[in-house]
Amino acid sequence: MLLQLKNVSKIYKLGEVEIHALREVTIQINEGEFVAIMGPSGSGKSTFLQVASMLSAVTSGQIFLKDKQVESYDEVEQAGLRNKEIGFVFQQFNLLPRTSSLDNVELPLLYAKVEASERHRRARAMLEKVGLGDRLQNTPAQLSGGQQQRVAIARALINNPIIIFADEPTGNLDSKSGEDIKNILKDLNKEGKTIIMVTHEDDVAMIAKRLVFFRDGEICYDDKFGWNKRREQNLKPEDRKEIESKLKMMKKKK
């Protein structure tokens, strides 16, 4: 087991109001899996990604990464985990502006205390791998959206993480660039990388091997286990119908 969440809840406080973004979510993900997290906005899928990737603290529950209980790690230890074990791909790319592709990809290595010459060598190799060998010195403003996202993927892979979290990786891209990114992610998974991806686009979710649907901060359907029994009775019929038709359509397309 690579990643395990046990009864994880996340409550935001907006003044007096408590928002239950995640309600006792439990999930297990094995090495080499490609999981797509789906659901409408506000369903908790993004919060799930943030909490699972240690960008945000849990309110209650436990998270195990490679059998280590990590949700109680302090800030510095969590920074180390994010640096070495986790790779991020964001919808907004989040590259440093006015900074070359090479420097952007090197950033995690900088915090991993890797020497300069080694940083250059690895960053260059990684950019070549995502097909940007000729764009090493370009700044984000000089790159297309698809190229920027490829730089971001190179950055996510640079420290050879055991798991990659992708938050709507194609959300800001045209369909051609989106296809490129989808192919890169598919290839990475083929090479054995574990990927957890949040998306609301059916055709993007289809590249994943396992589909997980969120509703109201809970998992209501998981490819691996079917309908969430505990959740089933309070699932609205129209939600159930929507998910079922989605699954049917996606299976047909495959």
Partner: protein, 408 residues
């Protein structure tokens, strides 16, 4: 991430906002520049006065009539001081008496009386101050002849009509002509110029300088000007250690042997005056530096202000760096170094500006940039950057990665 890497990031981000960085640094530049420049004026003045005193001979004790310093011990009312100086309590005969009594401690001693007279060479005529003295003044004041020579004991004893000219006076009277053995008229009496003294400098603040005096044998002068007031006896001790005991010994001798009271004369050494002046100048330097330091603090607040803006502007960058593995300390260090770089760089420019400024001032006024002032200003500016950088840097380090990433 090494310290060098962090520094590189900090400097890179400063260079991305050159205009803003420059304006921020301006506060520090002005602050450090004015601290260094103003203290350089103070210390320059101090150095200048010390040099002046040193050029008037070392280990010198002055014996003057009355009490020119006034009751309070400082320099009293100048009019009183002049009246005190013309009291006729000092006698020429005191010199051999004092010298005999303290033979082992005294190297040389000479009387000095000041007179004002009219001097003329051919058609050049001017008013000048003359000092009536003996040949020993050469040693006491370390005042050698650059051309010709000093008058001798025989010249003094026989009251010969010879004169030595200060450098400035010689130039004013003779221009390019060699003054040696030329005849000049002092109050219509003919004198022979036998020497020109080395340039002493001094008198820079509008007062008379030793360079603009003429020097006459004592007896010749008292007869010429018909005035035998002895204004001053300058006594040179053999060593630094002799000076203090000599001051009290001479006081005792004058009271015992000449029936004088304490109010009739004053014995002082030049370090005493020097110390008084120095303490005044130190306060002045401190005051000037203190006022200038206010602008340094204002400059520091400018840095804090711009760093707070920078942190707010770069919240997303901070969030991203944290997401990619930066620890709070690394983020804090990055912004601290940025603030410190701004202030140290600004401080360096400030020191440079102050140095150039003091070079310009030196043409009119003594100014000296000291290493300690530079180091202090440098240290203070670095401290200002760090102190005023802490608050914004802490703010940056405490941001939660996801909230920082989501900010627009």
């Amino acid at each position: 991430m090494t310290f060098a890497d962090t520094t590189k990031i900090a400097i890179t981000s400063i260079f991305r906002n050159k205009g803003r960085a420059l304006l921020t640094m301006l506060g520090i530049i002005i602050g450090v520049g004015s601290v260094v420049l103003l203290t350089s004026i103070g210390t320059g003045l101090q150095k200048y006065i010390e040099e002046q005193f040193a050029s008037f001979g070392s280990n010198v004790i002055y014996l003057v009539p009355g009490n020119p310093f006034g009751d309070s011990g400082g320099f009293g009312n100048p009019e009183d001081a002049i009246i005190e100086r013309t009291k006729k309590t000092l006698k020429l005969s005191m010199i051999p008496q004092i010298k005999r009594q303290f033979r082992e401690h005294i190297a040389s001693a000479a009387p000095m009386s000041l007179f004002s007279g009219q001097v003329q060479y051919k058609i050049t005529e001017k008013k000048a101050t003359f000092i009536g003295t003996t040949e020993e003044l050469e040693k006491v004041l370390n005042n050698k002849a650059a051309k010709g020579q000093w008058f001798t004991k025989t010249d003094v004893d026989s009251e010969k009509r010879v004169v030595l000219l200060g450098d400035t006076l010689a130039t004013e009277l003779f221009g390019d002509v060699d003054p040696i053995n030329k005849s000049i008229k002092i109050n219509t009496v003919t004198f022979q110029v036998i020497g020109v003294l080395e340039k002493k400098g001094g008198g820079g603040f509008g007062g008379p300088s030793f360079d603009s005096y003429g020097y006459l044998p004592f007896g010749t002068a008292t007869k010429l000007f018909n005035n035998d007031t002895l204004n001053e006896i300058a006594i040179q001790g053999r060593s630094k250690e002799d000076v203090e005991p000599l001051v009290s010994d001479i006081k005792g001798l004058l009271i015992d042997k000449y029936n004088l009271t304490k109010e009739d004369f004053t014995v002082f050494e030049q370090t005493q005056i020097l110390n008084t002046i120095n303490s005044v100048l130190s306060v002045l330097t401190l005051g000037l530096g203190g006022i200038a330091a206010i602008s340094l603090v204002v400059g520091g607040i400018g840095i804090m202000n711009i760093m707070l803006v920078t942190v707010t502007e770069r919240t997303r960058e901070i969030g991203l760096r944290k997401a990619l593995g930066a620890t709070p300390n690394q983020i804090m260090l990055q912004f601290l170094i940025e603030a410190a770089t701004l202030s140290v760089f600004g401080g360096s420019i400030g020191v440079l500006v102050a140095f150039l400024g003091s070079l310009a001032i030196q043409r009119f006024f003594p100014a000296a940039v000291t290493l300690s002032a530079v180091l202090l200003a440098f240290g203070v500016s670095a401290a200002v950057g760090i102190i005023f950088g802490v608050a914004p840097a802490r703010k940056a380090s405490k941001l939660s990665p996801i909230e920082a990433l989501r900010s627009e």
